[in-house]
């Protein structure tokens, strides 16, 4: 359970920092960079979540298929 909480905090941290960078870049009128930063942050988190979901599927497989 400990590792799950860690990952949630990490996602929250990345979200906060990306949001800060987005606002700062937005304020000085570099909208296109702000959007790229947000997009990359989103993709990174997506990959992280995808790997965790994959773990979950492996666990379900091992429980129900008795491998």
């Amino acid at each position: 359970m400990g590792i799950d909480v860690d990952i949630i905090f990490k996602i929250a941290g990345v979200g906060i920092v990306v949001a800060f960078i987005h606002t700062i870049l937005d304020q000085v009128g570099k909208k296109e960079y702000a959007q790229w930063v947000t997009l990359f942050g989103f993709i990174y988190i997506l990959f992280m979540v995808a790997s965790i979901i994959e773990d979950l599927f492996q666990k379900i497989k091992s429980v129900f298929l008795f491998q």
Binding site: K10, G13, V14, V17, V18, F20, I21, I24, L25, Q27, V28, G29, G41, Y44
Partner: protein, 171 residues
Amino acid sequence: MIKLIGAAIIILATTWAGFEAAKHLALRPKQLRQIKLALQSLEAEIMYGQTPLQDAARKLSKLVPMPLSLFFESFSSLLSSGNTTVKQAWEESLERVWGLMALKQGEFEILVQFGETLGRHDRHHQQKQILLTLTHLEREEAEAIDRQLKYEKMMKSLGFLSGLLLTLLLL
């Protein structure tokens, strides 16, 4: 423990990079002001002192602060060595110190163009050229100040935040 030290080092490094970029932005209007001041002194030397160009340049090199003083020093010594034209000496010394300045290509062109007119006309014509160059530099300075106000703060906070993001990604 070692992770914490690494994270601190990364954040420190990116923050420093941000501050360095901000300093570069602040340096440009400052150096433009110094160049303007130097040109005004040069005008005074030409109009009222009627000093020869190499003496005027040597005087100016003592008057202005560091990177610019190197420029006038080199200009003066190239002129006293005697086997170049004023234009060549001006351009060569400009290229020599350009790496130390925080200025852009536009200012370089303005100064090179000024160097082409230097020492080719009578006093009043020369004064007009100096005034023209000063006007150009003033325009550049206004733009530089604008950029400084806009981006200086952004560079500082962006440096720190990108460090934070990097450590979070590597955690």
